[in-house]
């Protein structure tokens, strides 16, 4: 495999690879990172170099690798004239910037960080221009946003740098996202994200329903990146970056990425009125605003920033014209702008560097102190102003020409030429200001440093660029012709039109316009002070940044409002949302279907006792809700609810459930009482009637919905898998209590999970109560002192008597569980209650002294036994939890059943005892400890 088959990805990726080296190299030598960066750039150029010949022969190089074929995301690079032009601009100007920055950065600045960021940014830019796959292009596009953020915020201690960087990232990042959307749509329309395909499908795209959204999204990307109105405001604030960064980002690279995209998509998207209007309008407005505002900036870099805006607008406007010759002009101006703006930024940097100021009101008469720099600045500024014999003049003439020809066809005649001339007037004025205000115009005022010429090598990059301005200006075809031609051809995806870059086209309208611009520009400059005053009076403070800040502030405020509305860290609304959401969703869904509410199953007659019990249950529930302010009373009423529910289970053939419910009920009451000791006895009245109404509505709706749901199911027939259990419980599971066999056998896994939950509850309680301190109330709710008799002897004696009896019952319930109602869980609760009764009657200390077992041990033993019975079956190649049972016959005892399920149930028993006792006793200990705490200490 030759290098030429994969040199393009190398070009884009090499700078990324070198970035960490640059960062790391600075540890050893401050300048090492500059060397790394410079050499990397040279190496990259070298890698690119062999391909150049191919491009000039009119071919396009595409190197691609399949990567995410499912979405058509390939690693694909493309080198054609356009890409080459941009790649060369990025690399060559990059190289100059690298040299320049090495002198610009002060000893305090981290060289490593700077060059690492620079290299990453360079790589990102190269990635954009070399991408064949559009998704890949978006990746690099967003990478430029990120890396430019790092570069702009390089002086992170400065607030303006941070803010400027963030604004740039916000705006260009947003554009990147829009671009992503546009690219996705483009891919959708074309069926591929490959540029080759997209560029060949212009008619398809333009004719598609999604053309306008696609165009809008892509243009959003373009306009934000290239700082077109109304997204232009970030650019001036990005000037907080070190000047080499500004010089790089705003002459040749970052802002040109958008322009590059216009050129790239020209064959695919242009040629419609939408294109002309959108692109043209944005370009024109940016051109005017930039040119106008530039004049009023007292900051050197501010002036250059707005001038950059203006020139970007100019280029955009050219694309908006949509003609082939306009494209030629646009691309030509891209090159020219890169050269003169790059050099001007560097000059501004030199001035700043040497004088310590960029304020044109202080900088005066520097010509004497730095003549060489002044010369360079004058030439570059002249190029910017469009003075003949310089490159800027040529492209500007072409621009005027295009403006005139565009006005013939599309817009009201003379509007465009008039407006562009106006812009040119200001352009001349601010260029003049840049020179005259700084290098002449009297003596400097209060400069921090005494300016002098910079180090030699700091000027060399500027020298080179200025020389280029001159050469191009004098012999354009020689230097620029070939590359411009291939770039234009690549952009058009067609042979480039005939164009001539002659200096002299005769006396024509464009020349007239140039002349007018020059003359009036000088005139405007001479009356600048009056203009400044007027501007300050009328238009000062109207700025995009303010709008952006306002927008951002509003958005954040909106975000906070919305977030605070939902996320109040209050429980009640959250619960309301959950219940309300469930209600709304279910109701909406039910009515989507054509199902009747009730089925046709025959219903049972109700008997009087059941009706009575149901009424009691209902009243008790309502009382619990109504009397919750009196906590002890509501505790008693909920006890009634639990009791009646248990009776109901008995009534409807569920003895096991009744037993479980009853035992849980008892333990729950004890638990609640233990807790109630520390909680206020009364619930304060909630004041809000809105809340009361809301809760009323939600509860009643929930009640109605549940009623309907219950009736809907209960009135319908169903067939279930129940028969299998009934038929297999005895022969397959060895037990006659089907519910228990389901629990320990058919669905033993549920039970295993269930005891883990219980164990976790116990452990959780244990963990929560550790170190918890609560003061015990010394009086009851009526202010009455507690009784002085903690262990009434009669209760003590009799519960001790009962203890063994209860344990006996527990064993009984446990052993019969497999065949008759009962089982490990219920037995466990009975045993726990037996133990708890001892705590209740005799107190913690007395009982703990006798119960020397750590409940942790009981729990793990239980879990181990339950899990172990399951694992044993695995050792016999049966699945987990497979049970076995057999009948043994012993002398005297007779025949009895031995089932592994019983062992499993024993595990359940132990976990229940362990967890329940642990929970209750830990709580009990809390109150025990509470008596030794002084209430005042807690407060």
């Amino acid at each position: 495999m030759s290098l030429l088959s994969f040199n393009l990805p190398l070009v884009a990726l090499l700078p990324f690879a070198a970035a960490p080296i640059a960062a790391w190299a600075t540890r050893y030598n401050r300048l090492a990172s500059a060397w790394v960066a410079g050499l990397t750039t040279l190496l990259t150029l070298a890698i690119l170099f062999p391909s150049i010949q191919t491009i000039f022969s009119g071919e396009t190089i595409i190197q691609q690798w399949s990567w995410l074929p499912s979405i058509g995301f390939n690693i694909a690079f493309r080198l054609d004239g356009l890409a080459l032009l941009f790649a060369l601009l990025i690399l060559l100007i990059g190289l100059l910037i690298i040299v320049y920055a090495r002198y610009y950065l002060s000893a305090k600045d981290s060289m490593g960080r700077f060059y690492a960021y620079m290299l990453m940014f360079m790589g990102s830019m190269l990635g954009i221009v070399l991408s064949e796959n559009l998704l890949q292009l978006v990746v690099f596009w967003e990478l430029t946003s990120i890396t430019s953020f790092l570069l702009i915020s390089y002086w992170q201690h400065r607030q303006d740098a941070r803010q400027g960087a963030r604004m740039a990232l916000a705006v260009t990042g947003a554009g990147g996202l829009a671009l992503l959307g546009g690219v996705l749509l483009l891919g959708h329309i074309v069926g591929s994200y490959e540029l080759t395909q997209v560029l060949a499908s212009g008619d398809l795209i333009r004719g598609h329903d999604l053309y306008l959204p696609t165009l809008l999204l892509i243009l959003l990307g373009v306009f934000t990146k290239s700082a077109q109105f109304p997204f232009h405001f970030w650019l001036p604030h990005a000037m907080a970056a070190p000047t080499p960064v500004s010089a790089y980002l705003h002459s040749a690279t970052m802002v040109k990425a958008g322009i590059f995209l216009l050129a790239r998509f020209f064959p695919a998207l242009s040629g419609t009125p939408e294109w002309s209007w959108l692109v043209g309008t944005a370009g024109m407005l940016t051109l005017l605003i930039g040119a106008y505002v530039a004049l009023f900036k007292h900051d050197l870099k501010g002036l250059l920033a707005y001038s950059t805006l203006s020139h970007l607008g100019l280029i955009t406007l050219l694309f908006g014209f949509g003609s082939q010759m306009a494209l030629v002009a646009a691309i030509f101006h891209i090159i020219n702008h890169a050269t003169f703006k790059g050099s001007l930024f560097m000059v501004a940097g030199i001035i700043d560097h040497e004088s310590g100021s960029r304020d044109m009101r202080k900088l005066n008469g520097l010509f004497k102190m730095m003549p060489h720099t002044a010369m360079l600045a004058m030439i570059a500024a002249a190029a910017m102003a469009g003075v003949p014999l310089l490159n800027g003049f040529l492209s500007k003439e072409m621009f005027f020409e295009q403006a005139i020809s565009a006005s013939d066809t599309t817009l009201a005649a003379w509007t465009i030429p008039a407006l562009v001339t106006l812009a040119a007037i200001f352009s001349v004025a601010y260029s003049l200001r840049f020179i005259h205000d700084v290098f002449f115009n009297g003596e400097p005022i209060d400069l921090p440093k005494t300016p002098h010429e910079p180090p030699r090598f700091m000027k060399i990059p500027v020298d080179i660029l200025v020389v280029l301005c001159l050469i191009v200006g004098v012999a354009p075809m020689l230097l620029i012709g070939p590359i411009l031609s291939v770039a234009v051809a690549a952009s058009l995806q067609a042979p480039a039109p005939e164009f001539s870059l002659a200096i002299w086209h005769g006396f024509n309208l464009p020349l007239m316009m140039s002349f007018i611009a020059l003359v009036l520009g000088v005139a405007v400059y001479t009356v600048r002070h009056r203009l400044f005053a007027w501007h300050d009076r009328c238009l000062h403070g109207i700025e995009g940044k303010a709008v952006f800040d306002w927008l951002q502030w509003k958005t954040i405020r909106f975000a906070k409002k919305v977030t605070d509305y939902f996320d109040q860290t209050t429980l009640q609304p959250s619960v309301s949302w959950v219940i309300g959401g469930a209600l709304v969703l279910s109701i909406l869904t039910f009515f989507q279907f054509n199902s009747p509410l009730l089925g046709d199953r025959a219903l049972m007659e109700a008997d009087i006792i059941t009706i009575l019990m149901a009424l009691i249950l209902i009243v008790a529930s309502l009382l619990t809700a109504a009397l919750h302010h009196q906590r002890l009373t509501s505790l008693i009423t909920i006890g009634v609810v639990g009791l009646v529910v248990a009776l109901g289970f008995v009534k409807f053939s569920a003895p096991d459930l009744a037993l479980t419910q009853l035992s849980v009920e008892v333990v729950t009451i004890v638990l609640l009482l233990l807790a109630l000791f520390f909680l206020p006895q009364h619930t304060p009245q909630e004041r809000s009637y809105i809340r009361f109404t809301r809760d009323g509505i939600i509860s009643i709706s929930a009640a109605v919905a549940v009623f309907l749901l219950s009736m809907a199911v209960l009135s319908r027939e169903y067939s279930s898998i129940a028969n299998f259990f009934i038929e297999n419980a005895k022969p397959g599971g060895g037990g006659t209590n089907v519910v228990n066999v389901i629990l320990v056998d058919f669905r033993g896994f549920d039970t295993l999970g269930e005891i883990v939950v219980l164990a976790l509850a116990g452990l959780g309680v244990f963990a929560m109560l550790e170190g918890l301190k609560l003061a015990a109330p010394t009086k009851d709710v009526e202010g009455l002192e507690w009784s002085h008799d903690p262990h009434p002897p009669i209760m003590q004696t009799l519960t001790r008597l009962l203890f063994p009896l209860m344990l006996m019952v527990a064993v009984y319930i446990f052993l019969r569980g497999h065949n008759l109602p009962g089982g490990g869980f219920i037995a466990g609760l009975i045993a726990s209650v037996a133990l708890i009764s001892q705590y209740l009657a005799n107190g913690i200390d007395w009982t703990n002294e006798r119960l020397r077992t750590d409940m942790h041990r009981i729990m793990w033993l239980g879990l181990l036994i339950a899990t172990g019975t399951g694992v044993v079956s695995m050792l016999l190649s049966y699945p987990f939890l497979t049970t076995a049972f057999t009948y043994l016959t012993w002398p005297v005892v007779g025949k009895f059943e031995v089932a592994s399920a019983i062992a499993f149930d024993l595990g359940v028993f132990l976990v229940v005892v362990g967890a329940t006792v642990m929970i209750l006793v830990e709580l009990g200990k809390l109150s025990h400890a509470a008596h030794f705490i002084n209430v005042e200490d807690i407060k």
């Binding site: 607030q159 951002q552 502030w553 954040i556 209050t570 009640q572 049972m604 007659e605 109700a606 059941t610 009706i611 149901a614 249950l617 529930s621 619990t624 809700a625 919750h628 906590r631 909920i638 409807f652 459930l657 479980t660 849980v664 609640l672 807790a675 109630l676 520390f678 004041r687 809760d695 009323g696 009643i700 929930a702 009640a703 549940v706 209960l714 169903y718 279930s720 129940a722 259990f725 009934i726 005895k730 209590n737 089907v738 519910v739 389901i742 629990l743 669905r747 549920d750 269930e754 005891i755 939950v757 509850a761 959780g764 309680v765 929560m768 109560l769 918890l772 301190k773 609560l774 869980f825």
Partner: protein
């Protein structure tokens, strides 16, 4: 009978929801307990209501009720018990850490509401770096 059971489930649910929406931990615990009762009865009744035919194998029995929902409810009761126990202790912990038994750990008197509102507007006015 079905109407009766449905009504019972419904009232327990309604009261449970109402209590769960209260502002103090204790009623919330009661509410969730009621809700657990309600849903357990609901789940149980999904095997339809049967009288006098428990699912204990007996040669004399003519029919059996559906044992599966019962087993499910048993599991559900136990889990609900564990959860309730945990929640109760958590309520105590909250009482200790937050100083009162409000579910949000504060008494939202009107004054306090005003105070928080005032603070948040102030915070907004102090635009941080944006």
């Amino acid at each position: 009978m079905e109407w009766l059971v449905a009504s019972v489930i419904s009232v327990m649910t309604g009261c449970g929801v109402y209590l769960t929406l209260r502002a103090r931990t204790f009623p919330v615990v009661l509410g969730l307990t009621l809700l657990a009762y309600a849903v357990n009865v609901f789940l149980f009744s999904m095997g339809r209501l049967q009288i006098g035919i428990p699912a204990v194998i007996d040669p004399a029995a003519a029919a059996y009720t559906d044992p599966l929902p019962q087993a499910l409810v048993l599991t559900a009761i136990v889990i609900a018990f564990g959860m309730t126990a945990f929640l109760i202790v958590l309520a105590l912990k909250a009482r200790s850490e937050l100083g009162n038994d409000h579910v949000d750990g504060l008494h939202r008197s009107d004054d306090e509401l005003k105070a928080t509102k005032h603070n948040s507007t102030k915070a907004e006015t102090e635009r941080s770096e944006s």
